[in-house]
Symmetry: C2
Subunit: 467 residues, 2 copies
């Protein structure tokens, strides 16, 4: 691999910028081509996931590149879900029973700018803005770009090309349309779309509602959420069906109807946003989709990474974390000193694919959990039990949420299998009154562990993984 040092990265988003930084640190010659202007010099457009949730898998990658402290400065801890009911009552549901486990609200723009700044400190890393990729020739390892200003087209050559150009990846499209190899691919759209709104800060710059939480107004078939920003504002997101139900994006076409809808379902939120109607009719409604594909690479020439390889719906707050984890895993494979890039790409995909498939499925699970389950008695009982277990037996129990979010040293797939089995065990024991929440906690821990193991074992036998 020594003779293949020129790496072209398509896309200077979060994943591409981190990858450029890491490969720069490793000494490669890195050129990053980005279709948009430099976000450090121009205002990025509003209305598209302004802030994100950063958690332990993401931080592991930040540590790898040595910028953990700088990133922490951009973070607002969110210790739990603040659940808002229709009456406007609030209750805090912590994310974990262990105090040091929480997620963080962070600005996409600030984090991306930091990653680019750090990458550019390396002489061997260069960013090229306003260069839109049109297609990739994966046999020749070349990419065709168009300059946004001059509209001139030009071809760039490299030893390897890594596409981190997001859910709508142009290189992935070249794989799909090229039909040169068997390319498995799926795009799955939700019937729900999303729209970003906002709570402005108070007149003296304070937060209008509790700062250190992810606020949720779950209404079964739709929901509103809010994440805090450093400037005292919250970015608020409405998830709603395009067509179904009494209120949907298709029929919320007048200010009156929008206000009626919020008055009925999000009364307390409406009070915090006199700017609702403006936001609603200014910001776009965007679709929510999951993308999976395989293979991610073509020979040793090209590789998909981040959302380009595995876009997920946002409900586990893991999209960015998963993309950052891609870089961690890729870096580990580079450490293994394989003979050629094809082996690196193959081993990387083998190590990684089942975990990104799992986080896609987990993210769909959480859509249903956030919309409705969080409001159901049996789910609340489960969460209460899990919080108590995590608090009292911090080394012996982790909920599915904790396994996914705070245990960066196990893969998403393991977290999913164990987490789902635990959920099934607890929910069924609660339904069948085999667990009593007034019982001794140690007894309940043992019951949960035993039944979880039985469920995992039964599934293995049924799937013929054993015998």
């Amino acid at each position: 691999m020594k003779d293949k040092q020129n790496i072209l990265i398509i896309g200077a988003g979060l994943c591409g910028s981190l990858l450029a930084l890491r490969l720069g640190q490793r000494g490669y010659n890195v050129n990053v081509y980005e279709m948009r202007p430099d976000l450090r010099t121009v205002e990025i457009s509003a209305g598209r996931s302004i802030n994100l949730a950063l958690s332990d898998r993401g931080f592991k990658a930040m540590k790898l590149v040595g910028i953990e402290d700088k990133v922490r400065e951009l973070c607002i801890p969110m210790n739990g879900r603040m659940l808002h009911d229709v009456e406007g009552n609030m209750v805090m549901a912590p994310y974990s029973g262990r105090d040091h486990e929480y997620i963080n609200s962070i600005s996409r723009g600030l984090l991306n700018a930091l990653l680019m700044d750090e990458a550019e400190k390396h002489e061997n890393v260069k960013f090229h803005f306003n260069k839109k990729c049109k297609s990739v020739d994966f046999e020749k390892t070349t990419a065709l770009f168009e300059d946004h200003n001059s509209k001139d087209e030009f071809v760039e050559d490299a030893d390897i090309i890594i596409a981190t150009d997001g859910a709508g990846s142009v290189m992935r499209q070249s794989y799909f349309l090229g039909k040169k190899f068997l390319f498995s691919f799926s795009q799955d759209w939700l019937s729900h779309g999303y729209k970003e709104l906002s709570f402005h800060p108070t007149e003296n710059g304070d937060y209008k509602t509790y700062k250190n939480a992810l606020h949720i107004w779950g209404r079964d078939s739709f929901m509103l959420i809010a994440l805090p920003n450093l400037d005292g504002s919250f970015t608020v997101t409405l998830f709603l069906s395009y067509e179904d139900g009494e209120y949907n994006f298709g029929n919320l076409t007048t200010p009156e109807k929008v206000i009626e809808f919020f008055q009925k379902y999000f009364k307390d939120a409406l009070e915090l946003m006199p700017n609702l109607v403006d936001d609603f009719f200014t910001n776009p409604t965007s679709p929510l989709g999951t993308v999976k594909c395989s293979p991610w690479h073509y020979k040793g020439n090209t590789l998909l990474m981040g959302d380009a390889a595995h876009a997920v719906v946002p409900f586990y707050g893991q999209g960015m974390n998963a993309s950052f984890e891609d870089v961690t895993i890729f870096d580990k494979v580079l450490d293994e000193d394989h003979d050629d890039w094809e082996t690196v790409f193959k081993v990387y995909e083998q190590n990684r694919k089942q975990d990104t498939d799992a986080i896609a499925d987990l993210s769909m699970d959480n859509f249903h959990e956030m919309k409705g389950h969080v409001n159901k008695a049996i789910f609340r009982e489960k969460r209460n039990l899990e919080m108590a277990l995590e608090k009292n037996f911090p080394n012996d129990y982790s909920s599915k949420y904790s396994l996914v979010t705070f245990q960066e040293n196990i893969g998403y797939r393991e977290a999913m299998l164990r987490g789902r089995a635990q959920d099934k065990a607890i929910l069924n024991m609660l339904a069948d009154k085999i667990i009593d929440l007034n019982d001794d906690l140690k007894t309940n821990l043992e019951k949960v562990k035993t039944v979880t193991e039985e469920i995992l074992e039964d599934d293995m036998v049924a799937k013929n993984l054993k015998h």
Copy 2:
């Protein structure tokens, strides 16, 4: 809908021809455009699924159009799987404990010809051959065709267009590339491909091996199967990885290596095919894939049906049956007298989609079952128990295979959920020695039923379908 009577069907394969026949019977003006020549006048190319398994869901559609008896004449009953081990020993594993339940080997060409003959008896049905569809304008409800001989292009207009143009559907591609609406789509390729081979008849026209079975040589990571034809031959199919394992399609490049492979793993089959090397190097190697998508329709203008909407891998022998069942279900929706085609298409997809998703998943299950599970002791014990239950309690028990294959009045999804739960119940009770095959059969039936219900109930609680 009375004013929209002109229906254009793209593709005169099994599904399109049946649909044309049924819509002809209902009085619509039907024009069917097929890219290939009329298969009744030219030899169809060898090497691509010459025969198929027809079972009860398919027959239900044949009854609907009144040609059951004619179809029966083309059928060769297959009562079970004839399992061949590496030594060449054979053991028959029946498909059902009920004697009247079996599947049928049928020639794709003969059945397709019959369907076209029957359809053409209706003056209002016309077939147009050698007309290749290039694209569909689903806003205007027009299709662009190219004449195979003259290469002239022409546009056809219709009130509605139904595409039954198979797994590589051109209309589905127009949906995908058009990006006019949120189109969920997946194509999943197996790492295995297939190649068709054959056992010729004996010199006096007899079958070289047992006629009334689907023969299987399951070898865990690959397999060979054989289905009988009316002329005394068998169509034999090899399913093998493209790249992995000691022997694969990638390295079977010389006659010597092919014979070595068959000598080692399919000794008794090799003895029946002196023509092996010829077949192997003449016939193509083809990929195996699953296609899912949604929505199937655009407004009331266009609709995907059959493999165009839901292509499956062939391992449950349900591809053709599922496509025929599409027509049965569609016909039932037409009986409901809806106001417009958009409602017909919407209701049809709502009724049908979850079942075609299920048969896709079931077909993947059966890939693993046929390759390897059938050879495992615990799976054989399960099948023996199930055969005994079906034989002795014909009204009280049906295996997953029977639910899918012989119970045409329940949907695939219901068959899948119940069938998988039964399999899990039996396998785990066998593994845990809770069921003893020497016990009273009635006792074992009760155990299976009770534990199956528990599994279904536990899954419902975990998925929050209840409480």
